[in-house]
Symmetry: C2
Subunit: 133 residues, 2 copies
DNA sequence: CGACATTACATGCGCGTGCATGCAATGTAC
DNA sequence: GTACATTGCATGCACGCGCATGTAATGTCG
């Protein structure tokens, strides 16, 4: 009887810890994400999702099928499609057909896109150092 | 000369670590937030923001000025106002006038709201244990 | 007292998101 | 070969968000 009470109390403590960790995650994420999004938008004219897509694209090499690019991202397929739309409209990436599988679409950064990414990367480092340093 | 190279390399390593931590934060947050939002919506008819508002309201005691409730939340003032709208429309909280300062508005959970919160809390614990355990 | 700034909240607006769907290309079964 | 399922991407739609603004109540200064 006494033992059951102890176990229940331990479980309750564990739950409170989880909730606290979750609230920390919520506030930290929103603070960093908002700061990044606003600063990138103001200083480089691109939002957070566009930058993340461009960043992972350049990380993956010069050319990447859209599906592969989306496979390790947090965005849904439609959100990524539209983020690439916005990047393309600014001339930062270019879509091209894939001959092997004509359903797939290659995305490649342009020279302008590479430059923009380099500029924005230092902004990202600054914001991340401010919030996560 | 050699020393400058070493420092630059150390700074680069530190930046890569920050970016990696940030990507972890992005993916973890989105995974937990999406799972929580969908499960709460499906099993209890409320979204993540509504639950967070209700949760903090009950944590703060029975009655709370809207401004105070928003002070430790990640949501903007307008987003919180509308989250409370949705909670009120479902009869889970009630707004009331504040006699001291008639600009302020009290928010209080109803009996139904307290019950819904208790039910949803166990769902939250389950999801958090799955993702952060 | 009156004029102006500030606070607390609600709301119009544009935008990015996920979901569901559409469409064309590919794979699979017979 | 034909019929059907599946894959990769684009798009209509509803919705929640932040920003800017509106509105009423309060504080402040002369």
């Amino acid at each position: 009887m006494r033992a059951r009470g102890i176990f229940r109390r331990m479980a309750a403590v564990r739950e409170r810890e989880l909730v606290e960790r979750w609230r920390d995650l919520l506030t930290t994420y929103n603070a960093v994400a908002n700061a990044l999004d606003q600063t990138l938008q103001r200083e480089h004219g691109i939002g957070l999702s566009e930058f993340e897509a461009l960043d992972r694209l350049i990380d993956a090499g010069d050319k990447c099928v859209l599906k592969v690019l989306g496979s390790d991202m947090y965005l849904s397929q439609s959100a990524l499609s539209r983020a690439v739309d916005r990047l393309e409209r600014q001339g930062l990436v270019a879509r091209s057909m894939c001959d092997n599988d004509r359903r797939s679409i290659y995305v490649a950064p342009t020279a302008t896109g590479r430059q923009r990414h380099a500029d924005a990367s230092s902004t990202r480092s600054r914001i991340l150092a401010d919030h996560l340093g």
